[in-house]
């Protein structure tokens, strides 16, 4: 069983087998996906996919550091390979309030600095989380205590993203509206930290309320510079 007669030959064969997988899994897909360009919508003159604000990009770091991606995915599979659409994870509203329900395409992710596709659904898919939580206040409440909205939630409470402080003067505009056992003592308020604000800005950017030409079949590659 002398597998290594000549170190150099052996090394080349091993290198070849690694390179085969690298080529198939990384290089070929890169040629297809590496230079996806945004597209201008004919009707509304919108640039698609929707751009992401700077605070949202800061939120990506909070999302990463606290491991949200270990329980939440951000991808909607087509109806042919999963029930994601049936679960309602592919639905959002466009600017005119019309329903847009669809799978996600590689082009949807081109603005994100770090892409969190995820591999586990202990929690709901977050591709269109902003469509389900209309405003920041609702998300703050959910992050502070998930059990209020979902009694069976296995999501941790992210209370360390908030500060309970004494109200001096007028209450803060950002103060989280909490009731029941979560409510702060009289004269105190619960306010989100900068981290919580950027995380929520990021979550609110997660909405795919637009149609991509990819839905009608492959789009001819456009030069990256256009």
């Amino acid at each position: 069983m002398n597998l290594v007669p000549d170190f150099r030959t052996f090394f080349l064969f091993v290198l070849g087998s690694f390179a085969f997988a690298w080529f198939g899994l990384i290089v070929l897909p890169w040629m297809e996906l590496g230079h996806l360009a945004p597209i201008k919508d004919e009707g509304s003159n919108d640039i698609l996919p929707w751009d992401t604000a700077n605070t949202a990009h800061q939120g990506e770091h909070v999302y990463a550091a606290n491991g949200c991606a270990y329980c939440h995915t951000q991808q909607v599979r087509p109806t042919t390979s999963g029930a994601d659409i049936t679960r309602g994870w592919g639905s959002a509203k466009d600017d005119d309030g019309k329903d847009v329900t669809r799978r996600t395409y590689p082009r949807d992710y081109i603005w994100q600095h770090q892409v969190f596709l995820g591999n586990s659904r202990n929690g709901a898919d977050l591709t269109n989380v902003a469509a389900r939580f209309p405003d920041a206040a609702a998300l703050y409440r959910y992050l502070y205590d998930p059990y209020v909205l979902n009694g069976h939630s296995s999501m941790p409470e992210y209370r360390f993203l908030f500060i309970t402080r004494k109200i001096s003067g007028l209450p803060s505009d950002d103060a989280v509206l909490l009731t029941g056992p979560d409510a702060p003592p009289a004269g105190y308020e619960v306010v989100p930290t900068a981290e919580a604000k950027s995380l929520v800005a990021y979550l609110l950017s997660l909405k795919k309320g637009y149609h991509l030409p990819d839905e009608n079949g492959p789009v001819a590659a456009t030069p990256a510079k256009s």
């Binding site: 290594v4 690694f18 590496g34 270990y70 596709l117 591999n119 069976h152 941790p156």
Partner: protein, 515 residues
């Protein structure tokens, strides 16, 4: 069996072959340090895993954990999203990789029948590796985690690990190149593959995903992440473990490898097919359909190397156990189980390469089952078996108690079996819930289904942790006695070795067989 009983205790555990004895002596300190630090990370990682697992379900079942939950809610350091990756990283980089590196260097030296080259460099490498893991874990807890699976270590820890790896690998490859003529063995090929694969994986993963991501790379990050995670299991941990198994099983069981002529075929087919298991994390996602289809076909052929490796090692091991009665001592049962778990892991990968099964299990606990099979099922048992074999030879000192070995064996075995059954079955149930074609079913329904399986898996992981803890304590006891003996006199040493500590099962493990 009886014949081998009388000799080892009297002679000690040093190999009767002076060449091998010299090899073992040359690697003694670096390998011991790597193994001890690995066991330390195993304890840390297992504790973190139990803690993380207990956070994944309501704590009614464990009221005592309420305090921990309050802590994790109010203190960012202990939140689930930091503890879970820290646990897996401690197990993969701290436990499996540290032990794997130490054992790989030892094995390359032993198979080449030369003392290890550059032992000082090796020692430095091992120390820096541990430093890197410690800093990386601290970074995760403090909120510097990159959020990329298995690449969570922040860049400042990655550089230390890189340097450490380079030192250890240089030492290993130089040792291999300086081997005695004719000392070639299949295990060397497996170990070299692991040593080549890791730098490629770790460099590409860290640079392209964390430190210098290509602008606008979008879903390419998903492809790279999948390639890295599966590459780490199939091209790093698997070859390290198989290298050890292909050497130790024939040696300890004193048998030739059955169907040995098929072993090179298993080797090459594994290298070609195994990295394609990456597409198991891509099915249905926003990726090129042809990549996924090609990957499913190629990873579906994984049964060829898995079957051949099982056919090589399981009959060899069983023949050894049969021949030497009493399950062939301490080492062989662990190694046999390692192969059985390897085949089980292969089967679970095989299930995931069926498109419809993958669709069902893709985002469920089943993935965790697969991960734990690699770490706790396959690799841990390889390292346990190897450590029961090598540590007495490095210290010239026996394990203290056959009873503790047995407790360790059964609690690890049943613990991991139960975890796999619970998490695997839970994954199937979760999958059926999430894939129900009824829009009334929500994530809340799925949570209700998984809760009981998570509670069960916490309990079973606790059982594994008891086994691991007993192993660590046994090792500590052995070292303590060894130190005591060193401080006193050699006369006492032989006395202690002959005392009832040296139970028959333990003694037979030290049987030295010429290579």
């Amino acid at each position: 069996m009886a014949t081998s009983l009388s000799t080892p205790a009297a002679k000690g555990f040093i190999s009767t072959d002076p060449e091998l004895a010299a090899v073992d002596a040359s690697v003694r300190w670096p390998v011991l340090v790597s193994l001890l630090s690995a066991v330390h990370w195993m304890v840390v990682g297992t504790f973190l895993l139990v803690y993380a697992s207990s956070l994944a379900h309501p704590q009614d079942a464990f009221p005592i954990l309420g305090w921990f939950v309050d802590l994790s809610n109010n203190c960012s350091i202990f939140t689930y999203g930091r503890v879970w990756p820290a646990a897996i990283d401690a197990l993969v980089y701290g436990w499996a990789s540290t032990a794997g590196l130490g054992l790989a260097v030892w094995l390359l030296a032993r198979m080449g029948r030369v003392p290890v080259a550059l032992p000082g460099v090796l020692m430095t490498g091992v120390i820096f590796w541990n430093l890197g893991v410690a800093i990386g874990l601290t970074g995760i807890f403090l909120g510097d985690s990159t959020g990329t699976e298995l690449l969570e270590f922040p860049t400042y820890a990655v550089w230390i690990l890189w340097l450490a790896y380079a030192l250890i690998a240089v030492c290993a490859v130089v040792t291999y190149l300086g081997r005695r003529p004719g000392c070639d063995h299949l295990s060397q090929a497996w170990l070299l593959v692991a040593l080549f694969a890791f730098p490629w994986l770790y460099a590409a993963g860290n640079i392209l995903l964390n430190s210098h991501p290509l602008p606008g790379s979008g879903v390419m990050q998903g492809l790279l992440g999948a390639w890295y995670v599966h590459g780490l299991y199939t091209l790093w941990l698997a070859p390290l473990g198989l290298g050890l198994l292909y050497y130790l099983i024939p040696k300890v069981s004193v048998q030739n490898i059955r169907y040995g002529s098929k072993a090179p075929l298993a080797f090459w087919t594994w290298l070609v097919f195994a990295p394609w298991t990456a597409v198991h994390d891509l099915v249905g996602g926003p990726f090129p359909a042809e990549t996924v289809t090609t990957g499913l076909i190629l990873s579906g052929l994984l049964f060829i190397p898995v079957a051949l490796i099982g056919l090589n090692l399981i009959p060899t091991s069983l023949a050894g156990e049969e021949k030497h009665h009493d399950h062939g001592g301490v080492v062989l049962p662990f190694l046999t189980l390692a192969v059985v778990f390897f085949v089980a892991t292969g089967i679970s990968e095989q299930i995931l390469s069926i498109r419809s099964a993958n669709q069902l299990l893709r985002f469920t606990m089943f993935r965790e089952c697969n991960q734990l099979l690699w770490i706790y099922g396959f690799f841990s048992f390889v390292v346990f078996g190897s450590m029961y074999y090598i540590v007495p030879r490095l210290l010239n000192f026996g394990w203290r108690s056959a009873f503790l070995v047995r407790v360790h064996y059964y609690s690890s075995l049943y613990g991991i079996l139960l975890v796999i059954v619970m998490v695997g079955f839970g994954g199937v149930m979760q999958g059926f819930t999430l894939e129900t074609p009824d829009s009334a079913v929500t994530i809340v329904t799925a949570n209700q289904v998984t809760i009981s399986f998570y509670i069960a898996s916490t309990m079973c992981i606790s059982l594994v942790s008891i086994g691991n803890g007993i192993f660590a304590l046994h090792l500590g006891w052995m070292l303590l006695d060894w130190l005591k003996v060193r401080v006193r006199s050699n006369h006492l040493a032989s006395e202690i070795l002959l005392e009832p500590y040296e139970a028959p099962e333990t003694a037979s493990a030290s049987r030295e067989v010429s290579a």
